[in-house]
Structure formats: structure tokens, C-alpha cells
Amino acid sequence: MQGSTGILTGFDACFQSVQPSPRLPHTAQNAATATGRGLSNTAPVNSIQGNLGGMTDREIDRQLVERAQRGDKRAFELLVIKYQRKLARLLSRLIRDPAEIDDVSQEAFIKAYRALPSFRGDSAFYTWLYRIAINTAKNYLVSTGRRTTSTSELEGEDGENFEENELLGDWNTPEAELMSKEVMQTVNASMDALPEELRTAITLREIEGLSYEDIAGIMNCPIGTVRSRIFRAREAIAERLRPQLGTSKDRRW
């Protein structure tokens, strides 16, 4: 099993029968099914996680925004990289055509960049971006004579809960569905190939949103081991995804 990642060192002797399900669920949707919980309970919570002394996700965004406010466009690009999928997914609830979603996404990011001087950090960056994207989408729909969806149908109180209520499959073209399946299959296959301790660690982190300290408690091992396991899990999955991610301009995502 270790050989599947090529980077395992076998020092995880401290892992002691966490006893997750024989095959831990990989995606949020599978996790919801396996744990008997709704998707709303499996939302990414890394935005609110952060160990004592660690820079929180919100603060990371804020640092990037401040760098962008000082003229560093490359910092804003990192925010685009981070949130483009989440934003496009949000917009897919309002707009069905993927090409139009791309247009509105681009416009929303550019509007956000232009509005950076007004961002004071009173809300999370994504919440702020979310509002801009919703308004951009509504204006687009009005300009094309289409009905707009009530925002309340899309969001929680701060717009952060939208994704939690989402299910995969809004991309309704055959090509899009195929691409989605390919991506998810690759991720699931990568997770299947991981040693159980790595799979458990990254699942507890990425899907359940637990801190390293909590994961260390659950897995009964040092925090440093948790850090190493999550990193090695990411690297192992990335290695399998790289052929799809590639570097060519026509890569799919």
C-alpha cells in the first residue's frame, strides 16, 4: 500500500486502530451518506479552523487582499485560484450555460479587484466576493431578460452556507458531466490508493474540518505526524491529478 504513493516512509507506527469505516468516504457527498448526515454538516470549515498561533484562513485571505491593495496583482491571482471553483459553482445556481458562468465569474473577479480599496476586512473575503458575484449575475440576467433567482434561495445568513447545500451535477452538458466524473474518479481512486492513516487524516481535515490537534487526539499520534500525513496525502493525490491538471492551456481545470 505504501508503494502507491512513493513517498511513504512507514514511520507512522503511532497510528493505532482509529477504526474508521473499512473504506472511508472520500467526497463530501459520500461522507454525508456514510455518516448519515446531510451535506450541510460536511461543509468545508477550514475558513474557521486555525490552531492557536496559526494564521487562519480568513487572515490568509486578508493578507493576500492587503498585498493586492498595495499593488500586488499576483496576490489577487492566488485568491482567484482559490475561489474560482466555489464561485463558479455558486453562479451555476443562477446561470446554466457554462460559457455564461465563465463570463460572469470573470466579471465578478474583475469587479472585486476594482473594488479592493473599499474592502475593509469587516467580513470574510469570500462573503464579500459572494455578494459581488450575486449582484453581477443578477444584473447579467436582467440584461438578458431572464428571471433572477431570489438570493434567499441560495444563501445562508452570510452567504457562506451556500456550498453546503449544494449537490454535484449542476453542469448539465454531457462534456461537463464527463469531466466532472473524470476528476472525481481520479480523486476517489487516489484516496483508495492511500494508506488508511493518510486517508483518515486528510478526510478528517478536508471534509470534517478538524484541527491538527483534534486529529492527533482521534488518531492517537503526535501533531507532527498529523501534519506529515496530511501533506503526504495531498502530494499523493496531486501526483495522480497532475496529468489532468497539466500545464497546457487547454487543460480542463
Binding site: 496559526g54 466524473k181 480523486v187 481545470w253
Partner: protein, 166 residues
């Protein structure tokens, strides 16, 4: 560096190290690729992935950004450092003490002196009541008294009754 990126994304990298890492991401293409791949993996595990054409969109946004005038704005206001609340409390306490001292001393002097001299004046030369007695029944004045009954002549006269008796 990839380990640091992984740790930072999880909110587990200390602030100083995270700041340095974010700064280094500006010009390190390999690190930026890692940033992207790790976020894609996270999105995929949470069910946000599978959105096609994302990289193409990313390149479009970058191209559009390059055409935009560079934003140069003062950083957003920062939260006060931890030591500021202590200074603020000390400053507020000092200001409150100063205000209290002034408020305590001032009424003891000027108004008291004024009252004393006024009392001496009354005793030396008791003045007739300056009351608009002839206007007391004036409807216009009455209307005003309805608004401010506390200064009705009758009330004011009562206040001076002892002097009149004396």
C-alpha cells in the same frame, strides 16, 4: 515549501511564517502550482470540484487582470495590537478623572460666589418682583405657561412669599 503550504492551508502555520510564505508565493511558480493543486484537491474532496473549464477561466481572469489599472489603496484598517486596549483603558481613565476633578471644583467656586453676592444684594436692596403680573392672564402668555407650567407666576410668587411677609 509544499509542506508549509499544506500546513498554512490548514490554519496551522504560525503567522510570521505564513506571512513570509505568502510573500514568497508571489514569484515562485512551483509554489503557486502547489497552492492551486492543493486547493483543487480540497475542493474535490468537499464536492466543489468537477467544474470544467476552470483553468481556462483562470487564464481569462489573469489576462483581464493584467489589463486593469493596478490598484494602489491604503491597506484596510487593521485590528489594534493586543497592547492597545490597555493604553485605551488607561487614557479613558485619565480623561474621566480629569473631567471629574474639573466638574467637582468648578461648581464649588463660581456659582457659589455668584449666589453669595446675589444674596447680599437681595438683603441690601430687596427688589420688587419682576413678574409680568399684568400679563398673567394674557392668553398668549397663558398659552406659553401651558407649555412650561413650571414657571407660572403663581408658582414663582409662592417662592417669594416669606420675603413678602417679612
Amino acid at each position: 515549501m509544499s509542506l508549509d503550504i499544506s500546513q498554512m492551508m490548514d490554519g496551522e502555520l504560525d503567522e510570521d511564517a505564513a506571512r513570509r510564505l505568502l510573500a514568497s508565493l508571489r514569484d515562485n511558480d512551483q509554489a503557486r502550482t502547489t497552492w492551486e493543486q492543493y486547493h483543487i484537491i480540497g475542493d474535490a474532496l468537499r464536492g466543489t470540484a468537477g467544474v470544467p473549464g476552470r483553468h481556462a477561466l483562470q487564464q481569462r481572469v489573469f489576462a483581464a487582470l493584467a489589463q486593469e489599472p493596478t490598484v494602489l489603496a491604503p491597506p484596510a484598517r487593521r485590528a489594534l495590537p493586543a497592547r492597545w486596549p490597555r493604553y485605551s483603558v488607561a487614557a479613558a481613565a485619565t480623561a474621566l478623572a480629569a473631567f471629574g476633578l474639573i466638574s467637582w471644583l468648578s461648581p464649588l467656586e463660581a456659582p457659589m460666589q455668584q449666589l453669595a453676592s446675589q444674596q447680599q444684594q437681595w438683603q441690601r436692596d430687596p427688589a420688587p418682583l419682576d413678574m409680568p403680573s399684568s400679563n398673567a392672564e394674557d392668553p398668549y402668555v397663558e398659552a406659553h405657561f401651558e407649555v412650561s407650567p413650571a414657571i407660572r407666576p403663581s408658582v414663582m410668587r409662592v417662592g417669594w412669599q416669606p420675603d413678602e411677609q417679612r
